[in-house]
Amino acid sequence: MNAPSPIELVCPAGGLPALKAAVDNGANCVYAGFKDDTNARNFTGLNFDDAGLKEGIRYAHDRGVKVLIALNTYPQSENWSRWTAAVDRAADYGVDAIILADIGLMDYAHRTHPQLRLHLSVQGSATNYEAINFYRERFGIQRAVLPRVLSMAQVEQVVKNTPVEIEVFGFGGLCVMVEGRCALSAYATGTSPNCNGACSPGKAVRWEQTPQGMETRLNGILIDRFADGERTGYPTICKGRFEVDEETYYAIEEPASLNTLELLPDLLRIGIRAIKIEGRQRSPAYVAQVTKIWRDAIDNCLRDAGHFAAKAAWMAELNKVSEGQSYTLGAYNRPWK
């Protein structure tokens, strides 16, 4: 096993090739899900069956990398046993932690598998230390993933007031809404991140070349229209262009990725325990590229935080794989709010 890192790099594994890419390029942890709506990336072709997960766990553990399983959607009374079975499977396979959002499921996991490490998912919407300490006292969670809504000072305030390890998003697609508190997809398509594990599902998406340009629709609703030569984007409601009064613009958020690489020294200083890379729906090549750069950056920062600067080459490579080919510091940078 590698020596424990003071800050862990947590990378996405939408499938076995991505898992191996993350492990080979320097991830400390990979996170993955089962092939159903028990996780928040419930997309066709993604995630792990039992054989794949066993192999993935073996591959990761042989190389000193932890495997975390996301079971971070909200079970309903009628399908409750599918979620508890998923908790049992994850425990049986010897995963290093499970990532949960629903307190009913947390209670089940805590009682049934007391040795199993629990992480609070970003889908739990815990943005303050009172909430995070609630999950610790009641269900023994050891780590919480913060929603992408807090400024650096607010994140620091959380870290100072809880014994729970804090994980933040470092790079990838940016939910501008508080995770776990967004029903936009449910409103437009009937598919909800909270209950179905998907936002803007492929089955509701339509791309159509028209005389006005390429149009993207979600369940028939026009989300955006792109001029010839303009870079098109997936029709996620919060990243569409709409009319307010007479103006047409990105009324909620531009399609940009979160990239906090330049904030690494601050994240280290305030005691962040882990940095998460978003993108289980992205390719193994994306995972390899982003993991490699972040590993390099974290190692650089750990050697000498005082002289750390985000290298132009890192930023350029990360921008290439960014949504919209641009990036934002998101809520960490207060003016963004």
């Binding site: 309903q76 009374s77 959002a101 992408r148 967004c182 409601i237 307010v244």
Partner: protein, 289 residues
């Protein structure tokens, strides 16, 4: 079934808000939730003002609950939360788990608000054990989801369902009203006060789609379960929540009250009710009202 008036989602000028609640005293509503649930920067009414409003409504025979902020980010948000929890007089609707922690610690009974994400009876039972006496179903949940919970609902737990008003769909750290004016949230000039029912977002085909209310995104259509009342009653719903709108809140309450008494009152508007029917929220299933 009882009727409740949910917390005011919008930011109205002080006098308009006070006048509104003065009129609520005469409306046919049993329970009134008050307090700021959307944005901590809004301050036309402070907690003391809300406590005054609560006292007047209580005198008028209403049951009153104070609703807490949905997104708590800062230490000052937590201070405000603690003052609400410690108010000593009125019930509290908890809208995130920080509030639940404080209320449970002090053994104060509470209402589990719509943003606590209760989607199964195991979660509801845990909250009951912590002091929840009533829960508000998340607006995105359906009648089928409710049926699953009702089967093994904890004893004494009352069910409240969002039944009328623009649906609160999402919360963000970012203020979309300020963004419209290229203002930062910290210096937002309180622009949302100019939009008594939010700022309309239309598709590029000019169809009403969403309403921006500060950091909150709402449905453009008004959710309306008036026509679904028999089903709501059969499903075991105890309380119907009406969300305040700048116009017609009294008419809405009258219509629901009339229907509950066997009348045939109707409402007019661009309605939706899809969530209740397990469909996309913006759909309208069956007759409007």
């Amino acid at each position: 079934m009882k009727l409740s008036l949910g917390p005011l989602q919008y930011y109205w000028p002080r006098q308009q808000t006070l006048d509104f609640y003065a009129s609520v005293a005469d409306m046919p509503v049993d329970i009134v939730y008050i307090g700021e649930t959307v944005c901590s920067r809004r301050h036309e009414l402070r907690l003391d003002d809300y406590l005054d409003v609560a006292a007047k409504l209580a005198e008028a025979g209403k049951e009153v609950a104070l609703s807490t902020l949905t997104l708590i980010e800062s230490e000052s948000d937590l201070k405000a939360l603690r003052r609400i929890v410690d108010n000593g007089k009125f019930a509290v609707e908890a809208n995130e788990m920080g509030a639940v922690r404080l209320l449970a610690e002090k053994k104060i009974p509470f209402v589990a608000g719509p943003t606590l994400n209760v989607f199964n009876s195991h979660t509801l039972s845990l909250l009951a054990g912590m002091g929840a006496q009533r829960w508000v179903m998340p607006p995105e949940a359906s009648r089928d989801l409710l049926a699953g919970i009702e089967k093994s609902k904890p004893a004494g737990m009352a069910t409240e369902v969002f039944a009328h008003g623009r649906v609160p769909l999402a919360y963000s750290a970012r203020c979309f009203t300020a963004r419209r004016y290229s203002l930062q949230k910290d210096n937002c000039e309180f622009k949302c006060i100019d939009f008594p029912d939010g700022m309309m977002v239309r598709t590029r085909e000019h169809e009403d789609f969403l309403s921006l209310n500060g950091i909150q995104t709402m449905s453009a259509k008004v959710y309306n379960l008036l026509a679904d009342l028999p089903e709501l009653a059969a499903a075991g719903v105890d309380i119907l929540r009406i969300s305040p709108e700048p116009n017609g809140t009294g008419d809405t309450l009258n219509a629901f009250r009339d229907r509950l008494a066997g009348g045939k009152a109707t409402l007019a508007g661009d309605f939706c009710n899809g969530f209740w029917h397990g469909r996309p929220g913006l759909e309208l299933i069956g007759k409007a009202a």
